[in-house]
Symmetry: D2
Subunit: 303 residues, 4 copies
Amino acid sequence: MTQTVSSNPNDEFKGRFRLAQNNYGKSDIRLVRVDRTQPRHVLKDVRVDVALEGDFTAAHVDGDNAGLLATDTMRNTVYALAQSQLTDSVEQFGMTLIRHFRQAGPSIRGGTVQLTEHLWDRMLVHGVQHDHAFTRASGQHTATVSGDGETFSVTSGINELTILKTTRSGWEGFLREQYTTLPETDDRILATVVDVNWEYTPTAVQDEATDYDAIFAGVLDQLQTSFADHYSPSMQYSLYRIGSAVLERFSQISRIHLSFPNRHHILYNLERFGMENSKTSDVQVLHADAEPYGLIEGWVERA
Amino acid sequence: MTQTVSSNPNDEFKGRFRLAQNNYGKSDIRLVRVDRTQPRHVLKDVRVDVALEGDFTAAHVDGDNAGLLATDTMRNTVYALAQSQLTDSVEQFGMTLIRHFRQAGPSIRGGTVQLTEHLWDRMLVHGVQHDHAFTRASGQHTATVSGDGETFSVTSGINELTILKTTRSGWEGFLREQYTTLPETDDRILATVVDVNWEYTPTAVQDEATDYDAIFAGVLDQLQTSFADHYSPSMQYSLYRIGSAVLERFSQISRIHLSFPNRHHILYNLERFGMENSKTSDVQVLHADAEPYGLIEGWVERA
Amino acid sequence: MTQTVSSNPNDEFKGRFRLAQNNYGKSDIRLVRVDRTQPRHVLKDVRVDVALEGDFTAAHVDGDNAGLLATDTMRNTVYALAQSQLTDSVEQFGMTLIRHFRQAGPSIRGGTVQLTEHLWDRMLVHGVQHDHAFTRASGQHTATVSGDGETFSVTSGINELTILKTTRSGWEGFLREQYTTLPETDDRILATVVDVNWEYTPTAVQDEATDYDAIFAGVLDQLQTSFADHYSPSMQYSLYRIGSAVLERFSQISRIHLSFPNRHHILYNLERFGMENSKTSDVQVLHADAEPYGLIEGWVERA
Amino acid sequence: MTQTVSSNPNDEFKGRFRLAQNNYGKSDIRLVRVDRTQPRHVLKDVRVDVALEGDFTAAHVDGDNAGLLATDTMRNTVYALAQSQLTDSVEQFGMTLIRHFRQAGPSIRGGTVQLTEHLWDRMLVHGVQHDHAFTRASGQHTATVSGDGETFSVTSGINELTILKTTRSGWEGFLREQYTTLPETDDRILATVVDVNWEYTPTAVQDEATDYDAIFAGVLDQLQTSFADHYSPSMQYSLYRIGSAVLERFSQISRIHLSFPNRHHILYNLERFGMENSKTSDVQVLHADAEPYGLIEGWVERA
């Protein structure tokens, strides 16, 4: 801080105001890794957000940057380590990154790495999966890895996956008071954009054999199966049901958070025009309402 | 215009300034139609934008609304007609809507309807396609239908489909001048977000047997096949190739416009760290650059 | 095209399918220029999209890139020319760019440059405009410049400016038919996100003294004044009124296109709860509806 | 839950999996309130997100909705209460809403209301602020109010405000290691999109005289003043400085969180073309890089 060494403008605040929890890092690092060792190329497409924690008070208060790793360095590191280390799941790459950053300087105590993996399908050409052409799929595999370089917590998720069922959902028997006008129904469309996150047990995180990608695929499968397999009296009911089914299937998961925006589909009022359009109609015409939307969120954990 | 009947503020402009081409309508009508006649439900999810043209000068200049159909009425109409008429492609529904609007009032001479169909896959539950549960797919089927109620032009398209190939693309031998610094390459990633639109011949539009959905599926298939089937010396070359292959396959299409943003993937400079990362590396680490991007656009038509 | 010189896969299409209108270029070039010659710094923040036209058939059909300027070169050029040339309006910089690109190679015949200038206010510190600190303002100044390097057409615009008035707008006397349910009103909120574009006369474009920034500021002022100064019986009426007032004020403008999404504000039904909430209420409670929306568009030109 | 009364599919999970923390509500309620009591209309434009907490286990596990208030009812309530209650700040309206919801049913124990107020300037017509015409301003006033109906916590914020300074910022003396390539600088552009949130002390929240709107305006003023008033050796330094200055100015605030994405502006390499473009250049040409970006976050609190 050459220019201001003779006086520190922040001196006026020292002692009276304190830097508390803080973190900093590089966001939106858009990393693509291609393994072309075999004719069948392997593609990995990941957005990485790094946030480090440690003792950064001198920088904040005194303008002394000696303990700060540049966020540009974090970016370089993500690309450099990806070459040899992004060979497995994004969860494991997250742990690798934190281990590295922990050792980059004494002021760094650990941090959090968020990874968003965009999923690609192999392109179908004449019905055959192509070796090196791909189509971006819906939905994302997310992971949040935190730790001090020795112990980690790992949360994985499914994001931006839109699902819908055209029947076997209702909304009845709810609390009614002065501002309640909504009629009851035992047959409606249920639609949501999935944002589901699950925490791994410490045992699973310590176990190097934990196959995060296989578990991700299994949760994605279970989520869809459990979404479709029952009459849903409420989004809340389906939330508990899906969460429980995932916990039952994977002992490596300690608890799961489900966040379901209720993307309302409202039967359009065609009675005004002498037409029928109701929950019992063979053909239904609905307005997909963008806003406002219900938002149902909760954790399901082992009893 | 009760409040202003005694004087028209626009009188000061009449005769000197003229209303030229104009249109108005309702945009972002979010329509969902479910056919539940059979246990295997049929889902149609369409965004509709209506824009009508006609003689609307009195409204603009004099504040006389007698010739204006309310945009709210257009919305009602879209939902009302969807029940019995949205039984086939969105292209045919677009023609149905224009025919109807043409007759809604003498001032209306025709218009344009844009339709964006969101595609849904049947959900796989234990490997079986579900009857009434769905997952939103990537990409959209778009259509723009214009006409006067008797004659129509129909353009269909594929939108927001992201595709990529990890080899068999290069960029060499281009014009070099004072501001040219880009090195040549004969092996790079090629990635784009497809925005392709094709015009149907008048004959195809008049033919009630034209199967727009089948042609859409065929173009989508051909687009991917032709994207993957050659070494691409430039996005331009692939543009002409894909366009020609579509025209060859479907005689119903008169010409096709392809718009390809070139989503650059740049080999990250790891040489600084003593690592190899080049076009010949087995494992490549790349930065997926969001901006700026090349944009390559052109029409291909029958000679 | 080293790899494919012995055979051109596109040969199968030549003669039967023709490249028609086409263009290519670099989009989303994010350029910032700071003039620090004086203590009061001057900031220019522009997004530039370049699209060139010319004879690019060889590249498309035969894979011969010799006539193609790399889009990376276009980016370099925009930054390089900005230093000495972006000293006035974005409109003039657009013409400068096209003049330059026209001479970059014989295949290039001209093109279109779109410029989006983000506007910044000087930050107010203790009520005084700061010399080098700025706050991003609402709205954008856009320009589209096309030409062959000698003759140009220039269109300027205002974009993403949200305006609203809480009274002096109505919607009555419109066409009613079978699907019309909307009640009439002589007092409603009128809100829109402005997208207005005006074309300069050839004389104005040729005149080096044309002050595009001053005219932009004048149109912005007139737009707001004319939006507020009358009872609006329809968005269409206000469209003609605003367009005419702009044309009257600036002889340099030949015609103007106005595109007004009608951002509906709907009185919420509180009568169900025994409350009054109508167009005559002192206090109104409204739902700002995001979708669908009316979209009113038209050109106003000199008679 | 008429259809499933004879059997509860979730019975298979009861006892083994437990519903933990959960909440639900209505998001994206777009509320506009206009007070037209005087000719000078008063406009309030607020997005409201409601999330209630309580004992909702029966709904999740057994499909018994009797304790659930419909999210549609929450929406009705927001509009209904806005008429008489949204007369002051959004913070106070948030407390009013929670007090109301707390009493809507015995299962509801409290909740969180998030309010995002869009700010509007009076339109200037011939230099005079208009009575009923408005232009949307940059930035948003946010508030998060949580509580059980009796005790509340209130956090307010400034969001989506973009600020920039063209000098008096540097980045030197930072930690260097194997992946560090960034050069040092004592003169760069500093730009960010502000996301700042401050917590009120319990005393301030209990005090009905607390003027949240005045404090918001004061923080906005202080933020800009402190951003501009010093040489910034790092975003971290400015974070502590701004946070401390806000705490010094407003004793009602207990602590403040600042989140600053570092919107990098990179001097474009023009040396390749024989031009000068450096930190000491009178005229600088920069690339406004959208991604990746540094993200600097921290709390400042009273010592």
